[in-house]
Symmetry: C2
Subunit: 356 residues, 2 copies
């Protein structure tokens, strides 16, 4: 993990809140394709749930021919799938919106990537036999608590459209980086929904219910909805796929450099297709250079690491911008799409440096 | 340390850079008067020095009657002094300046407080017998390296005016919170200069030299100087004493709260005198309320913790501002004093919350 550094100096999660725990990956200092569990961002709506393992099983029920009651060992015995996936919280970079929006003030580190192993959700759904009218699959987590905007207690529950639930890469994961998932990241079982923002990847799965209608829980109908307007809900639509985006990891914003050669490094990712083009500007967008995109070794759901050797001889201030485009021709916008709850920020990434 | 939280959920240092290591105290989550070494901010100009202890001594030399060569045990044998001190980096809150300034983008956590024990520098200076013409005391650290703005290699070296060096509370510390200082914070000996910004508290002391003139090293003549103008050095003057300042710890900026009672909590501190008045506004500065200042139990160099019970019945957005004044009648300004290198930020602290 820390090849570049002595083990003596290492980065930490950046604390956003403790009740519930929300901590950010120090993304600028991740030089590896695989984020260590210790540095994987933690995002919670509630305090951690209490799980009892003496009698643990996961029901698969609702609009199915044969409801299932699955023991942990049952899930481990199904044929597994292993996928490298970038998980990004839809609130990643929320603190960059102008005007500012309320909620966790994530900087650029509500994103991580690693190797998940689990059983495809489709395996269970096919075994149970979903009914013809099935429309969505509801996944409930063990975490629950109060909300500021509603009375009562709610569990963290989300649904997926049936097609996404049946996608062979939508898995019920039990390993991260070849070890059991850490408790804070959803042990023993969490959903992993590639290409969707992290809110879909429900942790601590309690039960799975197939329904014939549309699920309306608050984490689906109130939160994780794009509201384009400050004062009304006109034009609202749900948060689903990850937007095309990039982050400059090095140099750091407002860093002072000397003249000479400097490596500009970063990552780029998308929730659809692959990263096709990476452009960099070191003159605040006046001129752009294409950065070599290396995708040969890449699996479909991981980020693309990129680097660019910048040779700078003239002292002064420089604004560096990166803009990436995916194979669906989605490009990072210059101005982010402002929305009241602050989801999906993906404007071109921009830093300033001084060369002296 | 973490009374409020399960040991299971804890804050971490926030990483600003790794080469050299600069990490920030999660100040919003510190509920204790004493910051644990683990969470004490780390501020370095260079990579960590290599120290050899087989033949370790500290020279006290220069304009003195009798130069000294002090072994570690000699320093431990002098009469010690124990003081609770707030240490604040002069770049604390630099990221809040507008327009932005270059350098480490510290948020509000380049500050910590704890109990330092050591021998007064004056004990050594008196033993060595400083000459009549002595003007400054130069303290060199073992840390050294390159700078972006000069050729060659420089050690981290700073001087103190003779009066400040002779102040009985300027100590050569060897314990923090009743244990040997951690290596990253200056083991085996570091200077502690109460009431001055942290740059004066040289870590890993290598030697002490009394001089008859003014020391001109780059960490004194280039860095740690207030430059009021962007493009010239007119009106420049050195960074010394800590400005009067405060930080709101709770609630968090952009937090969403429900109606009812909420504790607003924070700290206030000054480099001269004591905190005399703490005013809070929950209506963006229209009206102000005095917060009870409890100083009875306080020693002279520690921060003042404060809290205010806010009862809020009306839903909406609120801007909370805190403004403190010290016994020398220094008050936090509304607009910070902008300076090119971004030192001494101390504008009134301000957060926004939404009540729903």
């Amino acid at each position: 993990m820390f090849d570049r550094y002595s083990p003596f100096v290492r980065p930490y999660l950046s604390t956003r809140s403790l009740e519930p725990e929300n901590q950010e990956t120090p993304i600028q200092f991740i030089r590896n394709e695989i984020v260590n569990t210790r540095l994987f961002f933690r995002r919670n709506h509630f305090s951690y749930p209490t799980l009892t393992f003496s009698n643990f099983w996961i029901p698969v029920k609702g609009s199915v021919a044969t409801p299932l009651m699955l023991l942990m060992q049952d899930l481990y015995n199904f044929k597994s799938k292993t996928i490298k996936v970038v998980l990004e919280c839809s609130g990643n970079k929320r603190s960059l919106f102008e005007p500012k929006v309320f909620g966790e003030q994530w900087e650029k580190g509500a994103i991580s990537q690693g190797i998940w192993r689990g059983v495809p959700l489709s395996t269970l759904l096919k075994l149970a036999g979903i009914s013809e009218n099935a429309k969505e699959v509801v996944v409930e987590g063990y975490d629950y608590g109060k909300r500021t905007d509603l009375k009562g207690v709610y569990s963290y529950t989300r649904s997926l459209p049936i097609e996404k639930a049946l996608h062979p890469d939508t898995i019920i994961a039990y390993e991260y980086n070849h070890k059991p998932i850490s408790f804070k990241h959803g042990y023993p079982f969490r959903l992993i929904v590639p290409q969707w923002y992290g809110m879909a990847s429900v942790k601590w799965i309690k039960q799975i219910t197939v329904i014939d209608n549309s699920f309306e829980g608050p984490f689906q109908s109130i939160d994780y909805v794009y509201y384009p307007n400050k004062d009304d809900n006109k034009g609202a639509y749900p948060v689903t796929k990850i937007n095309v985006d990039s982050t400059i990891q090095k140099p750091l914003h407002m860093e002072v450099l000397d003249t000479g050669k400097h490596l500009i490094q970063g990552i780029a990712w998308t929730g659809g297709g692959y990263i096709k083009e990476i452009e960099i500007s070191t003159d605040n967008g006046k001129t752009w250079t294409n950065v070599l995109v290396e995708n040969e070794e890449k699996t479909p759901y991981e980020w693309t690491s990129w680097s660019y050797e910048w040779s700078v001889q003239n002292k002064g201030e420089y604004t560096i911008i990166v803009r990436v485009t995916d194979s669906h021709n989605r490009t990072q916008p210059k101005i982010p799409f402002w929305n009241r709850k602050g989801y999906g920020y993906n404007a071109t990434d921009k830093i300033k440096v001084k060369v002296e």
